[in-house]
Amino acid sequence: MVALFNTPETHNMVVCTLCSCYPWPVLGLPPVWYKSPPYRSRAVIDPRGVLTEFGVTLPEKTKVSVWDSTAEIRYLVIPMRPANTEGLSEDELAGLISRDSMIGTRLAGKAA
């Protein structure tokens, strides 16, 4: 499995246009939208439009990097650490992470 680290310069997003390849051992079964034609068709041609549907708008200077899982390599996105989280415990940080943030269609949550 390959971990893709999001940075201020690059936002990673994972898709399987040909079927439904997904990091099962870490994330479990994929949600229906991940396996369905709207996401599989648009993630590669219109990733920013897809992100908008998830409520994510990236700065223009952030590059979107889409990974199509066409073989047996599996990809997992490591979301960027949100601001003002330096003092948080591991459990508190884990609470900011969602499944979708590890597919790359959402960002990590904000610190309370």
Binding site: V32, S36, P37, S41, A43, V44, I45, V66, A71
Partner: protein
Amino acid sequence: VNGPQDMGGMMGFGPIAPEANEPLFHAPWERRALAISLAMGVTHQWNIDMSRHAREKIPPALYWSLSYYEIWMEGLKRLLTERGLFDAGAKKLPVLEASNVASVLAKGSPYIRNAATDPLLKIGDRVKVRNLHREGHTRLPGYLRGATGEIIRYHRAHVFPDAHAHGNGENPRHLYTLRFKSRDVFGADNDDELQADLFEPYLEAK
């Protein structure tokens, strides 16, 4: 095959509509469909590439009208029919016991193999994707045909789906991750990138 599964870049499927607090299954039969598919998988009457190809051969109009697990069941029906396995007495098959499911799932199955030849390409090479239109199974998405990209990772050799799906052995081939500019592939007006994992026979050196 240029089938309904190869939908990267298509338009008109509507909004993505993620479901909040989505249940793992939307009906009891879906849970069963997953279980049946996994249980049949361990009987080794076919491999993963054959089962993918069975789904890809569903006629497009039908494929796009089916839900995900309906596609799985339609593919399974075809695999069973082709092999004459619908008759319960046809053949004695290994049984996946409920107590073994977790360990079978956890085990996974590696696809890395030794190749008979050295890789022809290396990280940093600019390569062109061949204009292939295979009637059989392939893992080359249509939207990348003819595109030029850069090799950014080498994964050693893997089972080659194009052979494996048709009973032609594992025929291991070198596997690379290629990076493409969205500008080159889809005419994007930004610096976004696309990556895909492609086998050596799909590629030619520039």
